[in-house]
């Protein structure tokens, strides 16, 4: 493995973890689409700073400007929402295209003056990242992108570690947080600043759309696998890194876009979790349903017999032939359920006339109390 390959993967992995951290809270707070809005809207900040302030695309000023745009986006959405004339989803859908448009126009107007084009912002080009080195006193300290993202990752880690309790509280019960004196608004804007910084740091490595993929897909995948916040954060990071590395090698073999391949891999991991997650996966659910279907049918049978027991219509209701017509069961299925129930000692079958045993009566009562 050449050092270049290694560096690309390292950058990708750092970007993935840096994105996954704030992503977890976006997903849990049902604000996932804010990452989409912010990562697009920061184009204005990047463009404006690059045109009017500095020509260096890796300057920290750019990050400040873009982070400010991100917060501006959030405030604009909030402002529109507060007029109560436009709902939040519509407010998001209006705000970020408008800001993005301003960015595109700025870039188009000054295209000759800056080395910035919209393709690069949207799609990124990770393959070139290792060529931009970070040098201090002529010592090569590695790719600049790695340093930038490394710092952003640290900021994210520190912020989340420091405010873990507050974040958790605001995420799960904003009202309680407010009454306890933690300002949900402050935490909210802090979080959004993190999202903006991360998005701008990542854009020239992976592009803004992939920022969305890396912020949302790994946390959502982790969400299918665990119930604990701390585990969800850890898993998201792991899935992010796995997608990054797998994406890189996929791109390498198919000669395709690295950013796109990484996004594709986040989707693959999600699909795997969706199918095979131990409790919430489709396969697990289907298997559980199948066994529950029998269990449910048994219970239904005992309850049916129980509620007609001792009443005048019992003779009719408690007959095997009645089950398929009244409970809408296939005759075969009904037979099977009856046989199972008989074997387990819930009922007695006297040539079609079904009677509950004491055990069956108990089961029905238990189910009804539940």
């Amino acid at each position: 493995m050449s050092s270049e390959t290694l560096e690309i993967q390292l950058i990708a992995a750092v970007v993935a973890v840096a994105c996954a951290l704030p992503g977890v809270f976006l997903v849990l707070r049902r604000m996932a689409m804010m990452s989409d809005a912010i990562s697009h809207a920061i184009l204005v900040g990047i463009a404006a700073a690059a045109i009017f302030v500095t020509e260096d695309l890796t300057s920290p000023l750019l990050i400040v400007a873009a982070a400010a745009t991100g917060v501006l986006t959030v405030s604009l959405v909030e402002l529109l929402n507060q007029t109560r004339l436009i709902r939040e989803d519509a407010a998001i859908g209006i705000t970020f295209p408008a800001l993005f448009s301003v960015g595109v126009i700025l870039i188009a107007r000054y295209a000759g003056d800056v080395h910035l084009d919209t393709d690069a912002v949207l799609l990124g080009e990770l393959a070139f990242a290792p060529f931009n080195r970070f040098e201090v006193l002529e010592y090569d300290l590695g790719p600049r992108a790695l340093w930038v993202m490394g710092v952003i990752l640290c900021v994210n880690v520190v912020f989340i570690a420091f405010f873990y309790k507050e974040l958790k509280l605001v995420t799960f019960d904003a009202n309680l947080a407010a009454t306890l004196g933690f300002s949900p608004a402050l935490v909210h804007y802090g979080m959004m600043t993190l999202v903006s910084i991360t998005a701008v740091g990542a854009f020239d490595a992976v592009g803004s759309i992939l920022v969305v993929a890396l912020m949302i897909a790994p946390p959502v995948t982790a969400y299918l696998l665990t119930n604990r916040l701390s585990r969800m954060i850890g898993l998201s990071g792991l899935i992010g890194v796995a997608s990054a590395v797998a994406g890189y090698w996929f791109a390498h073999h198919q000669d395709a876009s690295i950013a796109g391949s990484m996004g594709l891999m986040t989707g693959v991991f999600f699909a795997l979790a969706l199918l095979f997650a131990p409790n919430r996966g489709i396969v697990a659910i289907a298997r559980r349903r199948a066994s529950q279907r029998w269990e449910f049918a048994q219970t239904m049978l005992t309850i049916h017999l129980f509620s007609h027991e001792g009443l005048p219509e019992a003779e009719r209701e408690a007959h095997v032939n009645h089950l398929s017509s009244h409970l809408h069961w296939e005759p075969d299925f009904a037979q099977q359920v009856v046989r199972n129930a008989e074997r387990r000692g819930f009922i007695r079958n006297r040539s079609g006339r079904l009677n509950l045993t004491e055990q069956g009566r108990e089961m029905a009562q238990l189910a009804l109390v539940k």
């Binding site: 604000m31 996932a32 989409d36 436009i86 301003v102 126009i105 949207l122 759309i209 395709a256 876009s257």
Partner: protein, 375 residues
């Protein structure tokens, strides 16, 4: 004179005419169908559909090796549609919420599209140029046949919308009631989403995947401020979309290096801002004026009531009191002197001495009425 020039250009200049017509068509179709998306709180679905259309475009090209707009639009529509089904499926069958499902599907589909585009790029047979216009849109490259395709597909979509007007209204307003009447709401739901998908993919070539969501959401959000009827909203929204389309085309043609798509989006955004501010009844300015008027009325009533309360401690209800007392009673809040002048001009209060005020007989009646109303 400038308008005349502009009119002449719009008719005679082939490129401008084509671009303006195409943008207007897109504005009308997405504006009209966007209303349903906004009303059903599916504003961001448009964003997901437009991003998700990218792999469809790429696949359509890979399979047919054709760049005919109809072929690419079909591919985009199928991908957008599948993406929507994924979103709905994920939301209905897992504990993942709608926003996450949208973001997930949007970004993963887009990534797949990106991978496919780079693959196509490297194929010896294909010149990929033309496909990436779908990314950012390239209105200037619109040809007459594109506009014809857009207009006929868009017209068909609008016809279907009008045809099922009543049913779609029921779906958006009260779907459970509709189902109890026997209409197959799930089928109507899929049909409406299909129409939205078509509206979105029609616009991709002009404004691109990123900006398309604005064309779905913004005209509808603006139109909602001006009217309280679905019919009015749809017509107005289509109109706003068309205005923004033509406006954007004209503005970007009149200056160098201003891309059309973003200009269209900024035009419609300006319409949104204007609507929020100035639309009668709902607009912010309107509301502000109304609340000012209310406040002033309330202040006047407070002063009148104070005078009445003071006077009722005397035998004569028209007993006069000084400004200082009234100021003290309202704790110096509100503009007491101004309110007194207003009351005098209404003929409810009279100025007895320089600084003494008394209720007129009409003022007593008014004050009594207000006091009773408050109880």
């Amino acid at each position: 004179m400038m308008l005349l020039e502009l009119g002449k250009d719009l008719i005679l200049d082939y490129t401008l005419r084509t671009v303006a017509l195409g943008s207007a068509t897109l504005g009308v179709v997405s504006g009209a169908l966007g209303c349903y998306a906004v009303l059903r709180k599916q504003s961001l679905l448009g964003d997901a559909i437009s991003h998700a259309a990218l792999p469809g475009v790429a696949l359509a090209f890979l399979f047919t090796q054709s760049k005919a707009p109809l072929v690419l639009v079909c591919g985009a529509a199928i991908a957008g549609w599948v993406a929507t089904l994924f979103v709905i499926g994920i939301v209905n069958n897992t504990r993942i919420k709608e926003d996450s499902a949208l973001g997930l599907v949007l970004s993963v589909f887009f990534s797949v599209g990106l991978v496919l585009l780079t693959v196509i790029q490297k194929m010896p047979t294909a010149k990929q140029s033309g496909l990436d216009t779908f990314l950012f849109g390239q209105a200037a490259a619109l040809l007459e046949r594109d506009v014809v395709t857009m207009a006929s597909l868009g017209g068909m979509t609008l016809m279907i919308m009008l045809f099922f007007w009543k049913e779609f209204k029921l779906l958006c307003f009260d779907s459970a009631f509709g189902a109890s009447l026997g209409f197959p709401m799930a089928v109507l739901d899929v049909l409406l989403i299909t129409l939205l998908v078509i509206a979105i993919v029609l616009g991709l070539q002009t404004v691109g995947v990123v900006l398309m969501s604005a064309m779905v959401v913004a005209p509808a959000a603006a139109a909602r401020q001006w009217t309280d009827r679905l019919g009015g909203m749809v017509v107005l929204s289509a109109f706003f979309g068309a205005i923004a389309g033509v406006g954007g085309a004209v503005i970007s043609s009149s200056a160098v290096r201003i891309p059309t798509g973003p200009t269209i989006v900024l035009s419609i955004s300006a319409i949104v801002v204007f609507s929020i501010a100035f639309a009668p009844n709902r607009g912010l300015v309107w509301n502000w004026v109304r609340s000012q008027r209310e406040r002033k009325k309330l202040q006047i009533e407070v002063v009148l009531n104070d005078l009445y309360t003071l006077a009722s401690q005397h035998a004569d209800l028209q007993h006069s009191h000084s400004t200082a007392v009234l100021l003290a009673m309202s704790a110096n809040r509100g503009n007491v002197r101004h309110s007194l002048r207003e009351l005098v001009s209404l003929g409810w209060v009279e100025n007895v001495n320089t600084d003494e005020w008394a209720l007129t007989s009409e003022g007593v009646i008014k004050a009594r009425y207000i006091a009773e109303r408050q109880e």
